[in-house]
Symmetry: C2
Amino acid sequence: MEANRQIEILKKTQLFGALDETEMRLLAARAGLRTYPQGEILFCEGESCQGLFIVVTGRVRIFKTSSTGREHVLAVEGPGASVAELPVFDGGVYPASGSAMEKTEALFLSRIDLRALCLEKPEVSLKLLQVVGARLRRLVGIIEELSFTTVRHRLISWILREAKKSGTATFALQMSHQELAAHIGTVRELVSRNLTRLQAQGFIAMNGREITIVDEEGLQADLASMM
Amino acid sequence: MEANRQIEILKKTQLFGALDETEMRLLAARAGLRTYPQGEILFCEGESCQGLFIVVTGRVRIFKTSSTGREHVLAVEGPGASVAELPVFDGGVYPASGSAMEKTEALFLSRIDLRALCLEKPEVSLKLLQVVGARLRRLVGIIEELSFTTVRHRLISWILREAKKSGTATFALQMSHQELAAHIGTVRELVSRNLTRLQAQGFIAMNGREITIVDEEGLQADLASMM
DNA sequence: CGGCCAGCGTGACTTCTGTCACTGCTCCCC
DNA sequence: GGGGAGCAGTGACAGAAGTCACGCTGGCCG
């Protein structure tokens, strides 16, 4: 049953997990499941927002594109997360674009339905505020990094974060330098050069697509000294 | 009557303007009016959020500080605006600091009260989402500028925005170069140099603290060519 | 009136950034 | 096995960004 599957999905989302069965059914009836092949655009910067997406499977990359074609990734959202929450309130345009990093299924909820739900179930609004708040925090963090630090610093931060995420000192670089560059707000060449330099300085070791942190304290110290 | 004055104030805010008299009274009873002299800190980056501020008079400057002391202004909010909306949802920390740019009065609402209000009056949540959404848009805009453009570009954008705001080609620079630098994410010296250069190139004319746009199209063209 | 101080303008540098161009490498598909 | 396509490393630059150091000015206060 399509509807039952959707309800299962909805239960796992931060936004709607707390709704009761009846609400859930109503919501599922309104939501449309869409499938996007890898690389497909879900929504485009500048387009008018029509609704919100809930990622079911796959991952969605939220990014800005410059007029020269450079990209800056603002966030990557996986299953259970919502994307493009803005439309609930104003009917403005999407501030960034979203694309599927792999084959992705997403539920689409129109702003009209969502708005109605918010008015009926105030908890949903609060959850939404929570999600948007987290997003706001992340954006402020990005601004801080861009405004006050160098590419090297951002790269080190990224490496440390990634290692922490994996739980060990060694982790696999799962993306191309190009993509990593888009994450930390620079270009491919600088990622390449800075990685090489960190390796030459004995802070990290690289083996194919694997990065090992050799001297974590050194990296930390480097971060501190650059500030 | 203090309470009546507060109600007058609340009526003019985006957030609570639509509430009825009863609600308004309740809210006013809960809110605390605080006064801050010029330069005083309302809240500090990293402190745990306890509530939201409504600016009554004066202006509040929202900014990030780097460890070297550089600052980046994220927003300036005047009467009727709310500041630090985050606490409604999570009890996390303030992502940035807020200070009074001049003598400022602000109403403080605790997160508990606000949360209760949101649950009771879903419209308030929607308004909040609208405000937070606008903030989100602005932050994404800042990231875009920082990530893709130069100081010169940001300065030109700022000048064009400022002129538009004033409605004429001439407007007064109401802040020091230092402060302007904090707005566009750079340092004093670069503001000074770039202003001089724009003047030398005949795009703008400066007379004391007054800036006149001489060649708006030239500026626009410059923006376009840099991208 | 003299001194002080914040704010501005600038020169001299250093370091960072981003671009271009070219070279390999590897994987994949005919 | 032979091309390609896509990614990665690197040298060479040009221009931008930020730092330091100074000198100047105008306003304010004692």
